[in-house]
């Protein structure tokens, strides 16, 4: 038994190292983890792109919110935009749709909206303050916040109508897990 001890220790260390490597190689290195699911949405104050009073998260409480981060320089945002336009028209009664311009200039964003259509409010995120607060890791990203102000999740990359409909429907239903229930307690 004694002479097996050393090989066994080596096998255990080797297996643990393999496990670490497997974990490292098993995940997509481009995927950034998102930890705010089930957490209360951080507050924000944003300036609307078309001028007007600043918008706060508190102003939207009581209604589910869909927030889309986008930029005029982002290719996938171009073909995602019509889906959001459609969503704002078809699902606008169930949730507030809001766009947040990420790392872009106002003229660029306005030009994009002039060409692609602007059927829901668009905000400027100066110095990406809100983006950092919300853990954005690129554009496009779509956040789903329920009526209680809890982040139910986010969609990374351009969204399709089917996913958008399903996620908005989820927002109007009560949470299944206990996490959001716990987070809702003051």
């Amino acid at each position: 038994m004694k002479r097996w001890r050393l090989p066994l220790v080596f096998a255990a260390v080797g297996a643990a190292l393999l496990f670490v490597l497997f974990q490292g190689f098993g995940r997509d290195p481009h995927e950034v983890p998102f930890m705010l699911k089930g957490a209360p949405a951080p507050d924000f104050t944003l300036k609307p792109l078309d001028g007007g009073d600043p918008v706060k998260l508190a102003d939207l409480k009581g209604r589910p919110v869909v927030i889309n981060f986008w930029a005029s320089w982002c290719g996938p945002c171009k073909y995602e935009h019509p889906v959001l336009e459609w969503g704002a028209r078809e699902l606008g009664a169930q949730a507030v749709f809001m766009g947040v311009v990420f790392e872009d200039t106002e003229p660029n964003a306005l030009d994009f909206l002039r060409r692609m259509g602007a059927s829901f409010p668009q905000m400027m995120d100066t110095r990406s303050r809100m983006a950092v607060d919300y853990g954005v890791a690129g554009v496009p990203e779509t956040y789903f916040i329920d009526a209680q102000g809890i982040i139910r999740g986010k969609h990374v990359g351009p969204i399709d109508p089917k996913t958008l409909t399903a996620r908005v429907k989820e927002l109007t239903q009560p949470v299944a897990g206990p996490t959001a229930e716990a987070a809702r307690q003051p």
């Binding site: 190292l17 930890m35 957490a39 790392e103 990406s128 954005v136 890791a137 690129g138």
Partner: protein, 167 residues
């Protein structure tokens, strides 16, 4: 040819505005605080890059993250609180060095343990083994009643090996 194509594509993308416009970062703080900001930013991973720290990345997202670090430092937050702010959003992925706790200790100490173990094995191998012990290591389970040298002598294969070695 490829270089020409790449430069043409880059020039075209610049001309058509396919890039994130640079935005100015916030002003540096007082030297002592700014040193802390830079030290923290070196440990944090830029959210839109691959393996670049917030301090090293020129991307505007990294600037925004640096601004946030600056804001939290000037608010008087401790280093742990600032790191926790980013971990709460991006998970431990945001730390360029894994935290030395729990299973992560393995990542820190595993390689050292393997090197030490390897050294130990080498040292052990270098010690001259007694005659009987060497055959006991090689043979599956030698019964103590059978004297090892007699079986070795009888085995024609081992005799051949021995002749080969002594040549």
């Amino acid at each position: 040819m490829n270089a020409v194509l790449v430069s043409l594509t880059l020039a075209l993308s610049l001309a058509t505005g396919q890039f994130a416009p640079q935005q100015a970062a916030s002003d540096p703080l007082a030297p002592a605080q700014e040193a802390r900001v830079q030290q923290l930013a070196k440990k944090l991973r830029c959210a839109v890059c691959q393996g670049l720290s917030v301090a090293d990345s020129p991307s505007s997202m990294a600037r925004a993250q640096l601004d946030k670090v600056r804001e939290l430092v000037s608010d008087g937050k401790t280093d742990t609180e600032i790191v926790d702010y980013f971990v709460a959003r991006y998970g431990e992925w945001v730390l360029l060095e894994p935290r030395a706790e729990g299973f992560n200790w393995f990542v820190w100490l595993g390689p050292v343990a393997l090197v030490l173990g390897g050294l130990f094995v080498i040292m052990k191998q270098r010690q001259p083994l007694p005659e009987g012990a060497a055959s006991a290591e090689a043979a599956p389970v030698p019964s103590p009643s059978t004297p090892a040298p007699s079986t070795d002598d009888a085995d024609p294969y081992l005799q051949a090996v021995r002749r080969e070695l002594e040549r």
